[in-house]
């Protein structure tokens, strides 16, 4: 925090990719509220004040800290040039709020309670979690691949779970589900409730291991990030030491297209664009634990390989999309690590619906600017948020999940 230079690399699109007068920013929080405090650079100063006890916990301070989808744009933007850890600092501020008994926000506490009692975000009956499985979907009792569905696809965006399952079936890849799937804990971890998140992590990992799966597949970007990055982080181990692979459907399909185990033969005649969901792009670099010392001129030892968002799933979805016949693919103006977050994830939609909606609407301006008929993303949170914004705007844009697009290109 002490080394933030206020260059606002956390706010602006990487200058090399800067498109000009419009679509110039990367930070949903600071676009929603113009005061500097809402940008990461402002929060670094606030963080210091919190750390040094120079500022009191007020509703205003809590809003500044929580009105933020933690999308990682600031982290990656800063790391283009420097060695700071913005994302970890923003997460730590929430942990501190929880530790001091001031956070999280009431609506987050309700979600935590839901998770505790019904093992999902919504407080819906736990028994109904697998109701999305229709008769035409084959689920194996045991398989190398375990499909972790997640709360949102299980209860609200069932079409995503169904499309994913059908893709797996269509590729002749047997898959199993969690014997007893509970929430991945994304909201808990994001709002600073680390103990609760850690408990869930341990439980879920254990269940995967005892089920004998070699690979966990997610169709939800947030879930992907949780399993691949946050679980190791919570347990202070490396992603590589989890004991199984974590893949997103995108990686699976990319691989399957290349191997020929899925053939996209049905044309999908659409001019469409792709939104890089944060958790599978800039937040997706694998985790490696580190501890060490800060030394002379701020050098650290041992050497730390920082996660700069370079290894996100950027190429894979594009490989897939451009292989589907009939698709006219047009890129958004802000892509890959510069993508503008939809604003819904990590507890934000529930606590700050206005931030989520206005961010989605802002992103939709881009969709309209490039003349796309459809917007594809790879996260149920993105899809739901965009769909709501489209409806409110009355826009003529079809909002699809990646799984739905792929399924549409497969013969029955």
């Amino acid at each position: 925090m002490r080394h933030c230079i206020k260059c606002k690399g956390c706010y602006w699109v990487d200058h090399t990719y800067q498109p000009g007068a419009r679509f110039a920013t990367r930070c949903p929080s600071n676009v929603w509220n113009d005061f500097d405090s809402y940008g990461a650079f402002g929060k670094m100063r606030i963080g210091l004040a919190v750390d040094e006890k120079r500022i009191e916990w007020t509703p205003s301070l809590l809003e500044i800290i929580y009105a933020d989808p933690l999308c990682g744009a600031c982290d990656v933007g800063c790391k283009r040039n420097l060695d700071l850890e913005i994302e970890l600092t923003l997460e730590a501020l929430r942990v501190k709020a929880v530790q001091d008994g001031k956070g999280p926000l009431p609506v987050h506490k309700k979600i935590a309670k839901n998770i505790d009692t019904t093992h999902n975000l919504y407080g819906a009956p736990h028994e109904g979690r697998k109701k999305w499985v229709t008769n035409d979907i084959q689920v194996a009792k045991k398989a190398d691949l375990l499909y972790f569905v997640g709360c949102t696809a299980s209860y609200q965006s069932k079409e995503i779970a169904q499309a994913t399952a059908k893709i797996l079936n269509g590729s002749q890849t047997p898959f199993m589900l969690m014997p007893d799937e509970w929430c991945c804990g994304n909201t808990l971890q994001s709002v600073g409730m680390l103990d609760e998140a850690r408990a869930l992590a341990k439980r879920n990992i254990e269940m995967v291991k005892s089920a004998g799966a070699k690979t966990v597949l997610l169709s939800c970007a947030e879930g992907y990030r949780m399993w691949k990055v946050e679980y190791p982080k919570l347990l202070n181990i490396a992603t590589a030491d989890l004991g199984f692979d974590v893949v997103h459907l995108i990686e699976f399909v990319d691989d399957a297209f290349k191997k020929g185990t899925i053939k996209p033969t049905k044309p999908v005649d659409m001019r469409l664009t792709y939104h890089d969901s944060c958790s599978i792009s800039r937040l997706a670099d694998p985790w490696k634990p580190w501890s060490g010392e800060r030394g002379w001129m701020g050098t650290v030892s041992p050497r730390l390989q920082r996660r700069r968002g370079t290894h996100g799933l950027y190429a894979q979805p594009r490989n897939v999309i451009t292989s589907i016949p009939g698709v006219k693919f047009v890129e958004m103006i802000r892509t890959r690590e510069n993508a503008f977050c939809c604003g819904a994830g990590r507890g934000t939609k529930e606590a700050f619906p206005d931030l989520a909606t206005s961010s989605a609407k802002h992103r939709l301006e881009e969709v309209k600017e490039i003349g796309a008929e459809a917007l594809v993303s790879a996260c149920p949170w993105c899809k739901a948020n965009f769909a709501q914004a489209v409806k409110e705007n009355g826009d003529n844009v079809k909002v699809m999940d990646f799984s739905e697009l792929v399924l549409a290109s497969m013969e029955a």
């Binding site: 500097d36 405090s37 990656v76 283009r80 420097l82 050098t299």
Partner: protein, 537 residues
Amino acid sequence: MTIAREAYKALEAIVGPKYLSDDPAICEGYRSGPGGYENGLGYERVMTKIPGAVILPRTTEEVQKIVKICNRYKVPYVPYSTGFYGPRSHCHVENELIVDLKRLNDFEFDEKHWYAVVGTGFIYAQLQQESLNRGGYVVIGGGGAQASVIANLIGDGWSPLSHRIGLPHRRILGTEMVLPDGELLKTGSLAVGDDPFWGDGFGPDLRGLLRGYTGLRGCLGIVTKMAVKVLPFQPEKLQPTGIAPNTALALPEKRVKWINYVMPSKAAQVKAMYEIGKAEIGGAVTKVPLFWRAIAKAEDKEEFWELWGKENAETVKNFHIVRVLLIGFTSEEQMVYDENVLNDIMQELGAQPRRTKPSDESWIKNADSAGMWLMCGSYVSVDYVIETLKQATEHGEVYAELKKKYTPPLMPDYGDPGWFQSFELGYQGYSEFLIYWDQDEDTTGVDHFYLETAKMNIKHGFYTALIGPHQPMYLTGPKYGPNYHEWMLKIKDEFDPLWVCHPPVPLAHDEFVERAPWMHQLKDWKTPKEFPMPKWK
């Protein structure tokens, strides 16, 4: 801690409650340091405060009303575009209002007449892309592509691309500014209408009130709108490539190309610049300090120090690289001509071209100043002066000599004499001397060095960037002009009779010397018993 109630209410009526706040959490976000340009030093610790309130106007009219209210209720205020310039662009007194200008981000472009009109919140990266889209380009100031175009053009505003047009003052066309007492001044063609295409005044040119070489740091009003010259470029696209952190612009090699040359000596380096200027070719000609190459190569701080640790005074002394950017403004044929002439010159001087990447990571779109902090965490440019190539090529060595006394806490750079290059086709020369330190160390030495450079420049008769608000005015004033400070203070008194505009600038560094006990031993110049401010208490 806030501003006077009556003032607050009056301000709220202008922008609405959404765009005004005195909430402590909001104000804390506007703290200057501890990181950043010139941060972690005594000036920042002694002179800066967080604001009492922050206001976000949208238009010139709103800014004017705000300033008038500040005058009425004696509320000191600071104009603020991005806050990147470090402590000098933040509050210096208690209960001060920050006028955050980021919402003044309108933009227009006149392609035919080669200019853009921007508001204070518009940054260079945006302007550069808009210009490139139309076959033009601008010089992004070394402050970085994230700098506000207006703020940078009235304060700094040069880069290696200044080989073609050096003095940023020349790029300022019709301008709108709110004077410190709330009067509105429009310069150039805006003085008589809505068309901003022309910069010169009617008779005397009141753009003279904007800068004073490196700016007035916001103590003489708020610029809200400016038309800026765009220079004709070439028509091929520069394609952004790569994923962070390795992003770069791929250059269309037949029209835009960097070439690095290894020169046999410093004299050859300097001669190359003269000859290239005389031949009137090239888009940029620059020498860079050796450690910048290490920064460009290093993936992180640790790798930088590993690379840098391999160097020493000998390697630094014998490292002479000239980087030349060729731009095919007219045609591919012209590019070939430029390259032939360049090679003629380089052959005469015994230089060797090196394999150079066909991409630009910095100057054209990025002007990546943020990398300056990579090494040590703290940085300031202790001089960045446009003069002639004669001064430019000698200045750095004198700095390097002085710097030895203050290393540590300054970063060891083995006597590197800084950065210099040709400006305005060799009619001017530019030199910049950058220093780096770890702000967690005792930085008294850095504070001392900073002030000692002013005395060094006076002693040797160097022109320097750090006059006006940057160094004690009562030290530099008598020695430049002479007595430029008297005129500056007279103008300040005329247009800001209450001194509410960013007090106590331009006497802030004088004030710092008075307040900081560790600076007293350096004070060997006269000051009046009482400084001519504050006037608002």
